[in-house]
Structure formats: structure tokens, C-alpha cells
Amino acid sequence: MPSLLKKSEWFKRMNANEINEKLKSGFPEAVVEFKADAVTEPYIVVRPESVRDIAKFLASDPELKFDYLMSLSGVDFNDGNIGVVYHLFSMEKRHRIVVKAKVSKENPEMPSVESVWKSANWHEREAFDLFGIVFKDHPDLRRILLPDDWEGYPLRKDYKVQEYYRGMKVPY
């Protein structure tokens, strides 16, 4: 069982700036951007190809210990890029960080983080299903919410609803 921080020790939490510095010292090449003044929460943009190494680092570093992947969302940024947003939390240290990775719409490939956080398994399947992001080394990359033979990726901004599905007219 993880040792949870007592309320009196919450001041030990790292803030986004410190987390970013820490990450930069480990991966000077991979951190693309750090936006400290983003509305409601700062975020870090990283290179997609090093997502798994960064995830391993974030999860195992004794000062960071991001053991809880709150959410993994696909996003269509509407500028030719789609990407994944990781919301991470540390149960033990009680700090949080948002990490983003962008890939081009034409070649949406990035490594899977399933081996680091098991919860990423279904989240990544969902991002694959609705955005068409291909996660390399995912153990079971199939559509999860839509039928296997559905065409296109509905949450992309340029998605057109298919007219027919197995001979049935799709209503709208």
C-alpha cells in the first residue's frame, strides 16, 4: 500500500515549474514547450516519440512518483495536428501535471504508455477509436466504443459522417 502524505506535509508538493525543470534535466531534447501561464493549469509539451521514456521517468523518479494516470485524452488541435493529453497525479506526493504530445494528422503514431500505467490501455484504445492515433506496442489496439467496421474517426474536426453503414442509412 502506498504511504499517503499527511495533510501537514502537503507543502512538499512540487509545482509545475519544478516538475518541468526536473523533466528538462533528464530529457533536454524532448521537452518542446512549457506554458506556465496557461489558463487554469500549466502544461508541458513533449516530443511524441519519447513519450514512453518520459512516462517511465515520471512514474519512477523518487521525487516525482506520478503513479496515477487520471486521464488520457485525444485532442484534434485543428492545426493539422492531433495529439494526446496526459493528466498525471501522484498519490504519494500529491502533485499533478499536464503533459501534451502532438503528432501530425497524416502520420499519427506515438508509443503506448500502457506498460507504465495499465489504465492507459483503454484510454489509448479510445483515442485510437475516435481520433485514429496509433499507439505502437499497445497490446490490444482495437476499436473500443464504435463497431469494428466503422469508417473514419468521429472526433476529428474534419470528420464526415459515413452515409451508409452495412446498407443502413445513417440518420444524420
Binding site: L4, V39, M70, G74, H87, V98, K118, S119, L145
Partner: protein, 372 residues
């Protein structure tokens, strides 16, 4: 005689199996009666909430949130409006927060009653189910009294509530608490410590704490494994910090820590804690407006927010991106049932098919929440 060759068999459980509480299909690989692997197939209730949300303005999304986890609509709305308000950077009147907490906790009891009642039904106990639904009806009556709807409320709006409390609501709620508290003990005598029930659920579907965290489990599923983690305490929102109550965790009282019984019992004991919160909130509720002064057309600044709250099933998160327009650029719902269900294969391997029914019930999924 040479050893007989045995073969594994693939078996479909669902999509309409009564124990799956909705339309879930589990593809079982079985060796005789033993589950070798269980692969959940979901999506039968998929309505693409997230695509709908991109085509509507912020207020219009609330009824869609209602329909995600239809057994805990109040909690779903609560998380969403918290997110929108955080994005708008507005404070709602304190009375609103109090009423929201009261509604969220009443809804938690109602939802746990369904979970507990149908769980008994899965195992074969019919009477507790009727008791639970009788009490749940009273909560639904309270909701109907205050907002007109019994299941899908559209009660919490960005910036406030649709209506103030009706006259007599506080007295009626207090009367309900007075009636309900003894029935929890009744439920424990009837079901929780019933020997058959304990034999069916203790030491079954054991979920160790580190596995639960790695799978990002939340709610009673996580607390059943002994992790003292409740967002109402650990990442406080609304006015939860003002009340005195305890986080319930599993203890392995009748079997192993993190088994089905622990997850079940966390729900039963949480109902008592919810009653404590409601009582304190009813006694200290301030007067005031139930709508903050916000414009009719909401246009948050460009930005994003990830807000999470504790629903009866666990951590419900909304990731809302605004591009400065009237409609959100992207809304993602991180549904607790979706994440909790993904650990089903992990906790069902090696148990019997009959145990699988107990295991699915103990995770307490709502398929509307899973499929969104």
C-alpha cells in the same frame, strides 16, 4: 489411463446477461468452470457524448451529462458545472454550494442503494433489493419535489441551480434521514453479514492496492483495497471541507483485503457518512441567491481545465477545452466506470464463472457511464 486432454472454451456472457447491469458483453475463456481470461466488450450504449458536446453551448451540455451515469445524475452535473465555473473563474453563492452538496450526497445514497440492492440480487438475495428500492424511492421523491424530475434532473447549472429548495424540503429530508439510518443496520443484518452472502463474496475478486492504483481505479473499488483516498477529502471541492465525516476503507474484515465483500461494504458504510454530511449541511445552510450573476451566453477565455469529483463510482473527470467561443472546443469525460471496468480481467482470472457475476457486481458499473 493416460491423462485426458482438456480444451479451453470461449463463452459469451452478455450482452443481455442480467448480472451485467446493462449491455455489457464479456468474452470468457473458460477451462471447465474456471475463468482463464475475461475480455469485456463495450460500446453498446455509445452515444458519442463528446461529439455532441462540441456542437452545443455550455448550458445545453448539462442534460447530456445527466444521461451518462443515469444513476448518479446529480454528481455528473456537479463535476461538469464545477469545470465550467473554474474555466469562467466565477464564484457561486455559498447557498448554491450547500444545496449541491446535499443533492450530491442524497444521490450518492440513492446510487449506492441500487448498487447494494442489485448486488444482493446478483448473488440470489431478493428481499434486500426491495428494501433498497423502497428507500431509494423516497430520495427520488425528494428530488422530484425540488426540481420536478426523478432520474435526469438538469438541476445544477453553470453559475447556480435551476430552482431554489422548495418549502418543506429540509424537514422532509430530515424525516428521511430519521427513517433511513436504522434501515442500514437492517440491511447489514439481512445481507451484509448473511452467511451465504459472505461465503459468496469474501476472498473473491481480490484487488491489491498497487494494482488498483496502476489501473487508476477510484471510488469504492479503490477504497475497498484499503487505500484511503476520497476526492472529497483529498482534493476538496465545493464545501466538503466544512463538514466532519470519515473516509471509509476496506479492512478485509471477513476475508482478504480488497475482495468483493470489502468493496460492497465500503458502499454500505459510505451511506452513513453521506447522512452525516447531509445533516450538517441542512443545519448550517446559509440564505442567499441560487444563481450567480453570469451572462446568458457563456464565453470562457481560451484555455482548458481538468476538473474531477467523487461520484458514487469514483473519480469523474471532465477535460474541457475552450477556444473562446460559445461552444466548447473539446469535452472529454473520464468516466469512473470505464476505468474501473478495465481492471475486470485482472481480478477475475482463476475464479469460477459464478464468481464472475459477483465480481462484476462488486465493481458497480453503469454502462451509460462506460460507453458515454
Amino acid at each position: 489411463m493416460a491423462e485426458l486432454r482438456t480444451e479451453e472454451m470461449v463463452l459469451n456472457m452478455g450482452p443481455q446477461h442480467p448480472s451485467t447491469h446493462g449491455v455489457l458483453r464479456v468474452e470468457l475463456v473458460v477451462d471447465g468452470e474456471v475463468v482463464v481470461d475475461a475480455v469485456p466488450h463495450i460500446g453498446y450504449l455509445h452515444r458519442c457524448f463528446e461529439k455532441h458536446a462540441e456542437a452545443m453551448n455550455y448550458q445545453q451540455i448539462v442534460p447530456y451529462c445527466d444521461r451518462m451515469d443515469y444513476l448518479a445524475s446529480m454528481n455528473n452535473d456537479h463535476a461538469y458545472v464545477l469545470g465550467v465555473e473554474k474555466l469562467l473563474n466565477i464564484q457561486v453563492p455559498e447557498r448554491v454550494e450547500y444545496i449541491r452538496v446535499i443533492m450530491a450526497e442524497l444521490q450518492r445514497i440513492a446510487s449506492h442503494l441500487v448498487a447494494v440492492g442489485t448486488y444482493g440480487l446478483d448473488i440470489g438475495a431478493f428481499t434486500p433489493f426491495l428494501f433498497c428500492f423502497r428507500d431509494r424511492e423516497m430520495i427520488l421523491d425528494l428530488f422530484e419535489n425540488v426540481c420536478g424530475a426523478r432520474l435526469l434532473y438538469n438541476y445544477m447549472w453553470p453559475g447556480g441551480l435551476s430552482h431554489d429548495l422548495t418549502p418543506g424540503f429540509i424537514e422532509k429530508t430530515k424525516a428521511f434521514i430519521k427513517h433511513f439510518r436504522p434501515t442500514i443496520k437492517e440491511l447489514n443484518d439481512l445481507l451484509s453479514y448473511n452467511e451465504i452472502f459472505v461465503k459468496r463474496t469474501a476472498n473473491v475478486g481480490v484487488l491489491p492496492a498497487d494494482v488498483a492504483i496502476n489501473y487508476a481505479a477510484s471510488g469504492p473499488t479503490l477504497r475497498g483495497s484499503g487505500v484511503k483516498w476520497d476526492l472529497r477529502k483529498d482534493d476538496p471541492y465545493s464545501v466538503y471541507h466544512k463538514f466532519d465525516w470519515d473516509v471509509v476503507v476496506g479492512t478485509g474484515e471477513v476475508g482478504t483485503l480488497g475482495d468483493c465483500w470489502d468493496r460492497y461494504m465500503v458502499r454500505v458504510r459510505e451511506m452513513e457518512q453521506s447522512l452525516r454530511i447531509i445533516e450538517q449541511a441542512l443545519d448550517t445552510i446559509p440564505d442567499g441567491d441560487v444563481q450567480a450573476a453570469i451572462p446568458k451566453r457563456i464565453r470562457p477565455v481560451a484555455g482548458e481545465v481538468y476538473v474531477r469529483s467523487e461520484t458514487p463510482r469514483g473519480e469523474l473527470g471532465y477535460y474541457i477545452i475552450s477556444d473562446g467561443g460559445q461552444k466548447p472546443f473539446r469535452v472529454k469525460a473520464r468516466a469512473p466506470s470505464f476505468v474501473n471496468l478495465s481492471l475486470l480481467p485482472e481480478i477475475s482470472r482463476g475464479y469460477l464463472i459464478a464468481d464472475l457475476v459477483a465480481i462484476i457486481g462488486s465493481v458497480d458499473i453503469v454502462l451509460g457511464d462506460v460507453d458515454r
